[in-house]
């Protein structure tokens, strides 16, 4: 088991290297530099700026300088926001995005797994069809549609629930107040829940058809034991493999959500940086997210091995 973990860890490094290199050269390919759109500066000042940001050195040297800084967790200064380094910007936005992302993921997993399992257990019944219809809706309607709709219903119009008026704020962070979190997390979690539900239902249906479930029934085990102990772990395996891509989807969704709800997270910095050609910022965010996903994939692999003993000793 330890050799398994060790090997996977080793595999992470070349992956990261490829991503960093790819991103670096990609950004350098872009026509124009970070200071082009500002007013014309006198050549001397241009030279000074270029020297200060290492832009005058040959490309491969810039690359190695960047790598060197990276190892020290220094993502470089943000070209546009003069007073902040990229690391600082990311660190500022991270708790916000993290809360959003983790909240959405948790909801998606809890609801998705429960709904998917329910649908599989009552295959082809009304419950099954309604869960699957909901899933279809969640997947096809984009988040930039659900967001304004939900904002309208819960924020502007208000909703009566159990005699109370529910009106949620339609934007802003407000230091992470729960009321501000509800709508963004809901919008973010919806498509994810749908995907998880579909995945779990499909794989659960397959598992319930296996021979070993038949054996468990032949032993006289009660249904809840069969589902929880015998069916669920193998049924969750495809979901575990999907964790990495699931988070990537979540990150993508966060771009929309942070924009619409005016939430100061990492995603918002990314878009601004892309539009303003802030090399280091964009690179920094991409590397940051990529590293996160890679580590998540590693965790997913470990989880997979924990659920399926056949993988461990390969």
């Amino acid at each position: 088991m330890t050799s398994f973990v060790f090997r996977r860890l080793l595999g992470v490094i070349p992956t990261l290297l490829v991503i960093v290199t790819l991103s670096f050269f990609l950004m350098r390919l872009a026509p124009g530099g970070p200071f082009d759109t500002q007013r014309r500066l006198p050549p001397e000042i241009q030279r000074n700026i270029a020297a200060a940001y290492d832009l005058n050195k040959p490309l491969y040297q810039q690359y190695f300088i960047y790598l060197d800084r990276l190892v020290h967790f220094d993502l470089g200064p943000s070209y546009r926001t003069k007073d902040f380094t990229v690391s600082e910007l990311i660190a500022e936005g991270l708790p916000v995005s993290a809360r959003l992302g983790l909240g959405a993921m948790a909801i998606a997993l809890v609801f998705g797994i429960s709904l998917g399992t329910l649908a599989a257990l009552r295959q082809n019944s009304a419950a099954d069809y309604s869960v699957m219809s909901f899933a279809m809706l969640g997947i096809t309607i984009p988040s930039f549609v659900t967001a304004p709709v939900l904002m309208l219903v819960f924020g502007v119009w208000g909703v009566k629930f159990l005699g109370h008026d529910i009106s949620l704020p339609v934007g802003g962070w407000n230091n992470g107040a729960v009321a501000n979190l509800v709508l963004p997390i809901a919008v973010l979690a919806l498509p994810e829940t749908a995907i998880v539900a579909r995945l779990v239902r499909g794989s659960m249906v397959e598992v319930l058809r296996s021979n070993y479930i038949r054996t468990a029934r032949a032993k006289g085990l009660p249904e809840h034991l069969i589902v929880l102990r015998h069916a669920l772990p193998p049924a969750l395996l495809p979901l575990v493999s999907y964790l990495g891509p699931a988070f990537a989807t979540l990150l993508t969704g966060s771009l929309v959500v942070e924009r619409i709800f005016a939430i100061p997270g990492v995603g918002r910095y990314f878009i601004e940086g892309a539009i303003n050609r802030d090399y280091t910022l964009v690179l920094g965010v991409v590397i940051f997210y990529a590293t996160f996903i890679i580590l998540l994939n590693l965790v997913a692999d470990l989880l997979y091995a924990a659920l399926d003993p056949r993988v461990r000793y390969r």
């Binding site: 872009a30 026509p31 279809m136 930039f144 549609v145 304004p148 993508t252 990314f270 892309a274 539009i275």
Partner: protein, 309 residues
């Protein structure tokens, strides 16, 4: 065999029992799947109206009319304070007075085109790469798949955004970039299928019968790999359309004066309170189309690889 024998053969042929191929079986199952059939019908309608767009409305899609800003269609329910568009503005007008109906149809053209072309790009990339990986020896295959694993870790949309920014929202690049988002999964699927087919006994039998490698690929491997590929392409199109709409929402996709459903929806979301029809119609069309593709894809999957549902 002499000429007399071929006359007998012709006679034999008259009594031959027709066979029921797997494709015929699949077709039968697909036609019996109500959701898929409805999906196909809806898709056909949308495509048809998109193609016939100029004939269906007297208004050009970019003709502004500042006298009819954000006006509801005549049949829209509601109190009198709202502005009514009148004329043949079936869906009302948008913030600069353009007819929404024709814009939705032109948006359909663009979105469908992007969907199909980008899916084609991902198909070609994915099938090419996946088939190659399935054919070369195990070492090279492992290398190729590790590369795919690496790329899988990239938050792809981010790269697409970067690309769109770098190359200044180039229209054609968008097709390629969006297509490049989906090819990874296609490559994995094709490689998996190719590997599994190659191990089947009838491939060995073909070798024993003296069939050369190229003929084996053409005659035996391709027809058996086609099914999962077709299913996946059908399910890729809605993802691509969503990706395009996402980019357009961020302002990085389709640019004026062209329009797509994504652009229309983003414009409609801005005006949601005052002119809800601007959001409603493009959303409805896009949702219906995406549903259709999904139903058809699911139907194809069940038809081509049936397990008792």
């Amino acid at each position: 065999m002499t000429g007399g024998a071929s006359a007998d053969t012709a006679l034999d042929r008259a009594f031959d029992v027709p066979g029921r191929s797997l494709w015929a079986d699949a077709r039968r199952r697909l036609v019996g799947n109500k959701a898929a059939v409805i999906g196909m019908a809806v898709l056909a309608c949308v495509t048809l109206t998109a193609i016939l767009a100029p004939l269906l409305s007297p208004y050009p899609y970019d003709a502004t009319d500042y006298g009819l800003i954000s006006c509801a269609p005549d049949w829209w329910p509601g109190s009198g304070a709202m502005c009514r568009a009148g004329g043949e503005h079936w869906f009302g007008t948008d913030a600069v007075g353009r007819d929404l109906f024709v814009r939705v149809l032109y948006g359909a053209r663009v979105s469908l085109a992007v969907g199909l072309v980008a899916s084609l790009v991902s198909l070609i990339l994915g099938v090419g790469y996946g088939a190659l990986a399935g054919f070369v020896g195990p070492r090279l295959d492992e290398l190729m798949m590790r590369f795919v694993d690496v790329l899988y870790s990239l938050p792809y949309i981010f790269l697409v955004i970067v690309l769109m920014v770098i190359f200044n929202r180039n229209f054609y690049l968008m097709f390629v970039a969006i297509g490049a988002v989906e090819w990874l999964t296609m490559a994995r699927i094709v490689r998996g299928e190719t590997l599994s087919i190659r191990q089947k006994e009838f491939i060995e039998a073909a070798r024993a019968a003296g069939v050369g490698p190229f003929s084996t690929i053409l005659r035996h491997i391709v027809p058996n790999v086609v099914s999962p590929v077709v299913v996946y392409v059908t399910l890729t199109v809605p993802n691509v359309i969503l990706a395009e709409s996402f980019l357009s929402f961020l302002g990085l996709g389709i640019q004026e004066p062209l329009t797509s459903w994504g652009v229309l929806i983003s414009q409609g979301a801005d005006q949601m309170e005052s002119a809800p029809w601007l959001l409603m119609f493009p959303t409805l069309f896009m949702a219906a189309t995406l549903f259709s593709f999904n139903f058809i894809g699911d139907g194809l999957r069940d038809a081509l690889d049936p397990k008792d549902r």
